[in-house]
Subunit: 349 residues, 4 copies
């Protein structure tokens, strides 16, 4: 009953097999391996973007920070949601890789920036000539950090605001696959057709050991990425082991199958939670990540019963039984129905 993170479960066996397959003989390093050639082609096809520039890195923070570093000058500010991973969970990596840019936090509904709030935030910057931060890219997370999903139209609406000011759009797609299957749309529809300039196409949270693709739809935007990646120490000499993971991920829609499994587990959880009278589901979970309020005693019972997940807002073991605390549940591709049902049983008491 592991719901602490979608980075806690195993990699998919086909991914492991791909590693074994790639481990034969000699290969050129640093992305010049033949598997990477195939990956580039596959991703361009997948995104219907024949001229896209594609790079692999091994962590989601590297993908985001390098992508933002490429789009954002040090004197600019990135517009993003307060709960965005780049703001809360990357220990100032975006600031580091941009050379000291700022993040301007934009008001949200359901963890999604609203176009009006975004416009307001952009309007409020760059009103003082050289004195204030200059306007930089807009960063959207899909699936959001609170488990909600932007529709393609919602992404397009945010991009349209960015576009009004000539600003680029970055999509943190650490859970790209989970959003895609939730929306049942194409990668192109969820990205460049909706105005996205660069997407971090995550694999680590969805069954890989650790690979993210950074995809720039306009090659001009990618001009400095390769140098930034090397300078950031994120270029792998034995790159084939990244390439092989991504190749297996895309082959036969494994990535979609894994995301569907994770989302199905998440939605099964959601249905169960919604039937519990003393539980309050927060936000509007559309994929594999959800938050809920429950009495302390309920959390304590679940944790004591072997469930693993984060409880926020207080110590689940100390304090009044009835105080409401927030639990965070994440399902990965490998989450079995028995775990979901087991957790629901524990929460029901």
């Amino acid at each position: 009953m592991f719901f602490a993170s979608d980075n806690g479960g195993p990699a998919h066996p086909r991914v492991m097999q791909a590693l074994l397959d790639a481990n034969a003989g000699y290969a050129s390093g640093y992305g010049a391996d033949p598997i990477m050639e195939q990956v580039r082609a596959d991703i361009r096809t997948l995104f219907e973007a024949p001229s896209a520039e594609v790079f692999l890195v091994a962590t989601g923070t590297a993908a985001n920070a390098l992508a933002l570093g490429t789009l954002c000058m040090p004197w600019q500010t990135v517009f993003c949601a307060p709960m965005s991973h780049i703001n809360e969970d990357e220990c100032n990596a975006p600031e580091f890789f941009t050379g000291g840019a700022k993040l301007t936090l934009v008001d949200t509904e359901q963890a999604r920036m609203t176009p009006d709030a975004l416009r307001h935030a952009i309007d409020a910057e760059e009103t003082r000539g050289v004195h204030g931060p200059q306007r930089g890219p807009v960063s959207i997370t899909q699936v959001t950090e609170k488990g909600t999903v932007h529709t393609c139209a919602q992404i397009a609406a945010l991009s349209a605001v960015a576009n009004d000011y000539g600003l680029k759009v970055h999509l943190d797609g650490a859970r790209f696959a989970n959003a895609l299957v939730a929306l049942d749309c194409t990668p192109a529809e969820m990205t460049w057709k909706a105005g996205v300039d660069v997407v971090c196409f995550g694999g680590t949270k969805n069954g890989l050991l650790g690979v993210e693709a950074v995809v720039f739809f306009d090659p001009a935007d990618a001009a400095t990425f390769a140098l930034r990646r090397k300078r950031g120490a994120h270029l792998f000499s034995k790159h084939r082991y990244l390439s092989a993971q991504m190749q297996a991920y895309l082959a036969d829609d494994l990535w979609l199958d894994m995301a569907r499994a994770a989302n199905a587990a998440g939605q099964r959880l959601l249905r169960g939670l919604r039937q519990m009278p003393d539980v309050q589901v927060l936000f509007d979970p559309a994929a594999n990540l959800l938050f809920f309020d429950a009495p302390r005693a309920t959390h304590a019972r679940a944790l004591a019963g072997g469930a693993q997940y984060y409880v926020m807002g207080g110590d689940p073991h100390t304090g009044p039984d009835g105080e409401m605390l927030t639990g965070r549940l994440v399902c990965d591709w490998s989450c079995p129905d028995e775990s979901v049902d087991g957790l629901l049983d524990l929460l029901r008491g």
Copy 2:
């Protein structure tokens, strides 16, 4: 009728004379001049802080950014007010000089962070181990950017919160003198006795050509400042011209006299504005800086009559006459009563 800024007026004649006096013969550079020796002693005496470390720089942004760079690691975040100069008016200089630290914006009342909001903001950081930004120093502006003044007790209350978490306190004192005379307290009371660790003791806005002192009350905090100043290209070879300004500033309480004059002009303005039925004074101006709402036509009339000040919220010349726009007025030491009364006359119509 110049009210656009307290950096638009002349330097005081005694400051100019000090420059002339300092311009005789040869002097060691880089802060080793004899006048600087005197300035160090004077500032230590003034602040009742015999072991304080004292440095001069030429701009307020340099003072703030270097002081914060010295106190704040790149993976930390500075707690400050949203309208703080370091957030809005320094083009990411704090981010640059800290090597990529973040600024966490704290809710305010009357442009002053409240202790509760500060505690809440600090509590919300560093809850995720190495993943999130780490807690860094608290930065307070005195006079605030909206013209209000913290009492010494208010500063002490914020410092007490910082102290609960082991965080240092920075005071942006670009208008230190104006606050001091408004409070009628001592420099020590407004700084280290209230828990401040480093103060940027401003002179540029109060009659100097361009000098700010950075004063660290604990020499250990200043350990890297001299190297950071040089690396930031803020160490002057002909340092005596900075020293001489500061010496004249402090001599015979010139700095206090100038601040008193500026505040008197500001308060004279305030009294006049408060008597106008269609004008709304914003915040609670306690020094030489004030904001007020007035109908567009009122602003247009004043500007047309020769008044110089900033109008925010819309074009003062285009739009409905009755729409309320915000004016910002700043008085410097040289502001004559005739200017104040002239502006009031124009606003009255």
Copy 3:
């Protein structure tokens, strides 16, 4: 006949098996996995350093740049050899991760800094107070980038110079294992007993997919490393896949066996080359990396015959046959005798 790099060959099957073994069930991320606990203990035992701090990253550049960032302030300079990887092959990553420190290049013999040259270089810095770069750590590469090996005494002699000035010592051990078996000494003798403060203990070039351990012998030196690693986007969520590689590496001395195999291939090559009249071996190759001068026609013949290695100093296919060009040969653990003999046959003609 692949001699282009020791990062071109396969990972060892036992390393692959360890990945498969680690891929079962759920595990905590970010280094809190139980395998990492074991790795930490194993490395402390291996280095006879019970209080050492141990971190894993995935690239050699990350290991070096983060280690140097931890030891070196932005206003300091790192003393290193001109041909050092940190100077020539990391696209300014050390400058990036230190926040803008400098590298001071020290004269070498056989690609090893000499103590006299190091002392001279250190003496030449920090003679101008705050104006010049300040003295920072000394960085030694073992095996050197030219294939030579420092004796433990040579490392100790360099450390002694560093120590005279209170400077820390960093060892870039990308080929640590190859040096160790060449010297037949212990890890402790080659590091902290010889004055090394932090070692980048490489695995990527010696049979892993991509893992390097950064080992600080004094925990105080490591105080900021974990935050720097996260901020640099080098902390892996699914850290167990790094841990598992390192665990297999150390188990049953696999790492030493692989290094012995690589060195044996290198020395077999060396013996063969030394018997060729028109070939000149450069430096004094002691491990698995060697450089040699040969006529263009010799290189052209070898490359045409299927050998893969880098030729420097000119195009091996265009120009006078007899012109001497430099070849660089690297053997990894998997290099078969047949490849070595095949290359030698080709070079002999």
Copy 4:
């Protein structure tokens, strides 16, 4: 008898008068003052460069570091002389303002990089794809740090090499005026006609209190300078005091007169030194800065007699009398013949 630096003497009285004149009434800040308008026009005329972009800063290090930051990406390297101020005397400010670029040291003759050495150094970089530092701008100092002067043809020859690789050329003109009068050429001839892209046109060492102009001949090169200057905290609010200094500097060729006076003193010194049998003049001093070797006892006598200058290579007061130590002498505009002759008398004994 002050020869320690050309930043130790007084500012010229006409510069002081200009400050007094500028100190009347109110003025817009941040470079929008009317005097700056005039300065921009004057400098464009002076350099025969009607579209040049002109900025003022207060320190030479700021001028150099901001100019290089504007021309050089963080993953590039600046080609410069080992003894260049940017390498030895700016505490890593160029590294800081470029975001972590490197400096590649080029061999010199008479402290001037030779075109061959420059070409060799450029050739040696960027031979490893993304792995090594990328080629960045070439930086030339005029007058060199050793007192020699490049002819315009020598500057042009270096620029030609840079141009072959598409690299920009920066001229550190901290002693621009002294070189110009030594060469008796025009500012255009010594800069853009010789291939220079940006010049730091120094005033601080030549009779100002502290002002340097950064002049970009191609406005496109200057695109980010204004933001970098503000972010670096080098934009002055009371900018008129910088403008006024520069205006006075240029008026009636004051700058040239001061440089002529300084050079005349330097050359008078040189003639005297060359007649002393036990003194060896180093390099080929062409302006106001010179180095000479003399026995320790000679230095000790001069210093005891009241001369002020730096002695390098040993303590002038302790050691064998006959050991040769190096003295460094700098003359500023105000250096009287009596001082020169007094020093010569002391040295003669």
